[in-house]
Symmetry: C2
Subunit: 124 residues, 2 copies
Amino acid sequence: MEEASTPRTGVPRPGVPVRGSASGRPVMAALDLLGRRWTMRILWELRQAPTGFRELQRRCERMSSSVLSTRIEELSAARLLTLDDDGYRLTRLGQDLVEALSPLDAWSRRWAEETGPATGGGSG
Amino acid sequence: MEEASTPRTGVPRPGVPVRGSASGRPVMAALDLLGRRWTMRILWELRQAPTGFRELQRRCERMSSSVLSTRIEELSAARLLTLDDDGYRLTRLGQDLVEALSPLDAWSRRWAEETGPATGGGSG
DNA sequence: TCATAGTGATTCGAAAATCGAAGCAGGAGG
DNA sequence: CCTCCTGCTTCGATTTTCGAATCACTATGA
């Protein structure tokens, strides 16, 4: 992980140019950060209780540990995560983000209804 | 055009196994779809008015046209987008998704405040 | 001390996703 | 015919992600 003036290599944060937006608008940094694979899923899995590294990996159906490590680093740098004795835990800011994302759950159920009655596969 | 013998799910949809979740839970399909690069950004750029292909590409600071094409196909398959004379337009479901994501804007501004002196501040 | 098992985390070659610039096909106007 | 716009594809290069093995550390127990 190098660093230069390019946004590409750094962890997205508000006020700084990110992928797809040189403006530094906070929401663009958020979209860059959240648009990386597994990022939202990790936050989602942490919404209720702190979780260890390997447990987190298991819950995400064996996502690559290298990617998990990278995501944890990014989310920590963004001050959304911390690590303590019980595992990784959302910060206040992280909890707020998950709350901001929570309407997604209700929306996705509506999506499921309108996309057609569950064609194979359980729901829950 | 894509997916022929893709080892993975094609376009995520609720009720079908997706990356990281074999359960078919709607929210997992949503997280898979939205966790692909540029997906949320595209939705974000379409939240107000229909936009053409090249204009969309310009707004996303010259994202790759091949990826834009792929995303449009995915979002269309997910029934979140349609194309008409004015360009790409969110469906009702797509609008609802953008609304579900809208708390992200307010959150990101708070994130900006807590991460350091606010530099940007615009929304969209 | 040695063995076993748990943890968070790294390594590295392979595979997949994304980039980016060029180009295609079609329509409108000069 | 040419030019300029459009949505969209192609394909080699680059970046990201995968995945299994592995490391370093801690704890337990014989």
